[in-house]
Point group: C3
Chain length 200, copies 3
């Protein structure tokens, strides 16, 4: 099926809840929820039990695996991969909004998080509010990200630390004299103290 302009219609599983905006070709699976005011781009795949809150923004071509939890304040770039059970957060010092005697302004607690284009977050990783995960970075499964992740970086552990660099295709790069050629796809990179740059 497609619309009048020839764009493929989105698919929404009968057991999904979609109240927000989803782009052409995007599929949303059972028990997932895209809230009103959430924005999901084209050609995305939103897995079962995933949750995308009002105010969250997701680009085009993004894979959101099952059970991932994406809140207001989170922005995800094109082509990113959000693994199964990934937990975002948007508050660095959460308290119950119903806790007697404690009042916290929205400005105080709502902290934005960004995942840049092409980045991947492995299954079960936890993203502390306020970090930026750079383009094509790879967050290892189960990592707890507490600081910014540079583009093309591989990070692992709790707290997550850099364990190398990866290619745009995901393969780990072997760096030699400030250069690297991907063993899988032959892309080449220059690595400096400022980070990784693909060769033109």
């Amino acid at each position: 099926m497609s619309d009048a302009a020839g764009n493929p219609a989105p698919f929404v599983h009968p057991l999904a809840l979609v109240e927000g905006e989803i782009g052409a070709g995007t599929r949303v699976w059972a028990f997932a929820h895209v809230m009103r005011g959430a924005c999901v781009g084209r050609d995305c795949n939103i897995g079962e039990h995933a949750f995308i809150e009002t105010g969250a923004r997701i680009g085009d071509g993004v894979t959101v695996k099952n059970g991932a939890l994406i809140w207001e304040g989170v922005t995800i770039g094109d082509g990113a991969f959000i693994g199964p059970g990934v937990v975002f957060t948007n508050d660095r010092a959460p308290r119950s909004a119903r806790l007697a005697g404690v009042a916290r302004s929205r400005e105080r607690w709502l902290v934005p998080t960004v995942v840049e284009d092409g980045a991947s977050i492995g299954g079960g990783a936890v993203i502390v509010a306020g970090v930026r995960i750079g383009a094509y970075a790879l967050v290892g499964a189960g990592a707890v990200v507490t600081r910014d992740v540079p583009p093309y970086a591989l990070v692992r552990g709790n707290p997550a630390r850099r364990a190398g660099w990866v290619c745009r295709c995901g393969e780990k790069l072997a760096v030699c004299s400030g250069r690297a050629t991907c063993a899988a796809c032959s892309a080449t990179y220059i690595i400096t103290e400022e980070g990784v740059q693909p060769c033109p």
Copy 2:
């Protein structure tokens, strides 16, 4: 809507399952399940995909975020915050109940866990059965709690270790000569070897 005594009625999303007891003003969202014999207090918010098992006890004013899993043996105090994807456990050495040749009594495996009033557990944290998380403590996102957490303590990591103290409002406290004044809300505390006490 309210009952004859003027208490606001609870709200149950049409796609939630609520068989247990929930208090006035409590809301339960889609795909969440409060089992028969679970007890949830007043003015709570139970997020989507959350699960509250028979025998679990949750106080008043508690926030349970999406996908949190709360079992028999777990008791949660008033005003606590249970973050998204938080996993409780109630058995320190689990085996399948259907594992041939292994019989384990309920007394042996069912270990109680307590979260005291006003405590917060960050997203994706895992709580090993048998611990007590003290009042107003803050468990960092992705932490794995294996031991008791004192009141007002901030803990992080796997296993979780103490990384400071927090105010009742959630702000980290700067301790000086055994005293601390919260930079956010001006509450004052005395810190001794026994822990933190709010000044009267």
Copy 3:
């Protein structure tokens, strides 16, 4: 209820999705999904919000707790325990299948994972693709398993490291002069550099 051969019928909660094969006596709870082409054995218990993908294989007598995510490429032996919120993975360097300019063959990314008979995986643990978790091993809650786990081993942490040995019944073993007797069930074991063997 039972079939003509006297086998107890499986139970499927009205809010579960079961398209795959499930054995006699197996129960599947609300908001869980067993996909077409997934294979689940007899007498299993599949908790709420669990997800079992096409191609996953689960033995007999397995407990899959709530929210566990089990993918193609994962094989789980008889009598295993998969804790709440456990996240398996099947790709060591995931990228969105919709990421522009990146093509990855199925042979490259799909990595098999095995959980042997009687093993237990604690709540919230994350299993990196490609590992083998040995028979009766015990993965601690919140562990991130990045390497093979020997039979009867207890592992914890991120990354998971060996912290002892456990009995078939789950109890931690006190090893003395290369031998151990379980304090709970009196089973006896010989421990060598090659690992643990039950005494005949």
